[in-house]
């Protein structure tokens, strides 16, 4: 079972309370309510902890998030109306949420499912994703390089930037064509590395609803049902529009096990750590109610650095994960966005910290995105490999939250002061032999050295 009363929900876009513009709604509803729930539910961050160990706090964040979502609703930019959900409606959706889905097929079929805090049975679901643009001429090879990774349970492939020499532009034929090319490349890449039916979340190149729909094709493109995943965004903050609702409708009708892409901005409309944690948790509820999404991808990020690996944001992801694991049946993943780039020691440290902060909190790793998400070709499977190996090792060790926090504090000392400094590293072409799709020796040596350093800190790698 899983409740999504699709047409009743879509009708809310036409019936809800009217606000002239989003700014008015922000000032009159959003901001006062976020301040209220922080206070009423006593949510506080101590400024130091990285992995939360306070179950009561996690529960209060959940309660605050649910209260906030019911109070504020979702602003529709196109209709200027707020789509509000009653407590009864929210409870119905949350109770009936499916806690597991079979995704992919054949030898790459996997369970995507709810995990618990310090989970002893259910390993993390490893979603590899650079979340970056790659040059069109290497796109298929880059997909193959990622797909080769042994721990991969699913892939969100790199994006294509250009089509026929022109930059892929939103709402134009170049975007539609680039989205189709992305989907075609990915299918070919899967067959060529022997993973034809591994679950892929597609198509990142398609920003618009029309490009997403154009790329959906069982023969050559994005596949229906459990074979491929999709994503629909919540716009910042607590906002949607008809293009997003169109996507949700298409994904539901196409049968995909699709997710809700949500990233509250630390320092933005929700304020500091506490407000952003509540808002990010509320987004998971929102996606289920508004879009009928099957899972959520959480990427709360820093307003200034556009990354998810600062101290407060790691804490936020840990407390959000615990709030969800303790209080809901909702599946979610945690998105790593690092400051540094490939072949830098800093990137490895950031990967390790994000993995450790989220695994023992019940999360699932999605990564690794690098370089503040700014540059083309600046991500490689090698740091993703490291990231997912750390997460898997944390699970295999049955690392507790307290143990994870201790290691994370030591790792934070390695890179916290470096965050403001631009450190963008190398391109995939520099780190990888793009013919054989393997890392060059120099960078593989670095990967092994970083594993040794992390082992010395207490992480027992699986292999």
């Amino acid at each position: 079972m899983s409740t999504f009363r699709m047409w009743e929900v879509f009708a809310k876009a036409e019936d809800g309370p009217f606000y002239r513009d989003q700014a008015e709604w922000m000032i009159k509803s959003f901001i006062p309510n976020i301040k209220r729930v922080i206070k009423e539910h006593d949510v506080k961050y101590d400024g130091k902890t990285i992995v939360n160990c306070d179950d009561g706090l996690a529960d209060r964040v959940w309660a605050a998030a649910k209260d906030f979502f019911i109070s504020v609703g979702v602003y529709n930019q196109d209709t200027h109306r707020v789509m509000k959900f009653s407590e009864q409606e929210v409870n119905e959706v949350l109770y009936t949420k499916r806690p597991k889905y079979m995704v992919g097929a054949g030898h790459d079929q996997r369970w995507l499912q709810v995990r618990s805090i310090e989970d002893e049975e259910c390993r993390p679901f490893h979603l590899f994703s650079p979340d970056a643009n790659f040059s069109t001429d290497i796109h298929k090879k880059a997909c193959m390089a990622y797909l080769k990774e042994p721990l991969l349970d699913g892939l969100c492939a790199p994006l294509i930037e250009d089509f026929m020499g022109r930059k892929a532009t939103s709402q134009s034929p170049t975007e539609v064509a680039a989205a189709m090319e992305h989907a075609m490349n990915l299918r070919d890449a899967q067959r060529l590395v022997g993973k034809p039916d591994v679950w892929t979340v597609s198509v990142g190149t398609a920003e618009t609803d029309q490009a997403q729909i154009a790329a959906a094709n069982p023969a050559w493109g994005v596949r229906p049902s459990h074979l491929d995943g999709r994503m629909v965004s919540i716009l910042t903050e607590m906002t949607t529009n008809n293009a997003m609702l169109n996507k949700a409708f298409h994904y539901r009708s196409y049968g995909n096990v699709f997710g809700n892409l949500c990233g509250a901005i630390y320092g933005g409309h929700a304020g500091g750590t506490e407000g952003t944690a509540i808002l990010q948790t509320a987004y998971n509820i929102e996606g289920a109610c508004l879009y009928g999404s099957c899972w959520a991808l959480n990427f709360p990020f820093h307003l200034k650095w556009q990354s998810t690996t600062t101290r407060e944001l790691l804490w936020l992801q840990s407390v959000l994960s615990q709030a969800m694991s303790r209080n809901s049946n909702q599946i979610f993943l945690n998105n790593l966005f690092a400051n540094a780039g490939p072949a830098t020691d800093q990137l490895y440290w950031e990967c390790a910290n994000h993995a450790l902060a989220t695994e023992s909190s019940g999360g699932n790793p999605w990564g690794a995105a690098t370089c503040r998400n700014k540059f083309t070709d600046r991500a490689t499977p090698l740091e993703s490999r490291f990231y997912h190996e750390v997460s898997e090792s944390s699970f295999k060790m049955r690392l507790t939250r307290a143990q994870a926090n201790e290691i994370c504090q030591k790792i934070m000392e390695k890179y916290e002061k470096l965050i403001p400094i631009d450190n963008y590293g190398k391109t995939i072409q520099e780190v990888y032999d793009m013919e054989r799709l393997t890392p060059r020796k120099e960078y593989l040596d670095q990967y092994w050295r970083m594993k040794d350093e992390l082992s010395a800190m207490g992480v027992d790698f699986v292999y």
């Binding site: 922000m26 930019q77 643009n133 930037e161 532009t169 939103s170 320092g267 307003l303 556009q306």
Partner: protein, 209 residues
């Protein structure tokens, strides 16, 4: 009644109380420019606190909202005098096809805090609308924000359009947003790229005086 009290009302987001006090003080002979100077100073303080995250965007927004309510009352009393610094005008917006506006909103508030006159076109702005606004407002600069790689071309499109219209050089063309970079700005021929709103305000002050 005092300028200090009006500053506090503004920080608290209590535009209504501030407006009442402003009207009373003006009626009793307080120069509008003195009140304005106090408010601009307070917005600058808030901007600095926001940069270091001592306060956050909601605090800036409620103060900014109150600031605009007060300005609606003050502007009819403000008469430019000889030697007064001219307020530079900046047109801002998020490019066509892009609905993300938080970066643009922050830029607007920080620019206001730094004494600029800001004309905010909102999100999903057609390039023609930017040009029309720049002409109408006699803008000194136009700022285009993009948050996605597929909407960044809107920045390049505007620059080409301005050149085709023979208006190149009449105002600064400034680009920004999470996926942009100084390399992108140089590639498309923008005049200014900034990492964040604060760097943008500082650059504009230096370039425009």
């Amino acid at each position: 009644m005092s300028v200090e009290k009006i500053r506090q009302y503004m920080v608290d987001g209590d535009g209504e109380s501030a407006v009442v006090m402003v009207k009373d003080m003006i009626a009793q002979g307080t120069p509008a420019r003195d009140i304005m100077a106090g408010l601009t100073d307070e917005m600058a303080v808030l901007g600095q606190k926001f940069e270091s995250f001592e306060v956050f965007l909601p605090d800036l927004m409620v103060a900014g909202d109150a600031f605009m309510q007060i300005m609606d009352v003050l502007k009819e009393h403000l008469v430019a005098a000889a030697g007064d610094k001219v307020r530079r005008t900046v047109v801002i917006g998020t490019v066509k096809g892009d609905y993300h506006d938080i970066g643009k909103n922050i830029v607007g508030i920080v620019l206001q805090a730094n004494g600029f006159n800001v004309v905010d076109l909102g999100a999903d702005v057609d390039p023609v609308a930017y040009l029309d606004a720049a002409r109408k407002e006699k803008a000194d600069a136009v700022g285009l924000s993009a948050l996605m790689t597929t909407t960044m071309p809107g920045q390049e499109e505007f620059i080409k359009m301005v050149a085709d219209a023979g208006e190149k050089g009449k105002f600064l063309i400034c680009v920004g947003g999470a996926p942009t970079s100084v390399e992108w700005a140089e590639r498309i021929g923008a005049d200014v790229w900034s990492f964040d709103a604060f760097e943008f305000a500082a650059k504009l002050k230096k370039l425009l005086g």
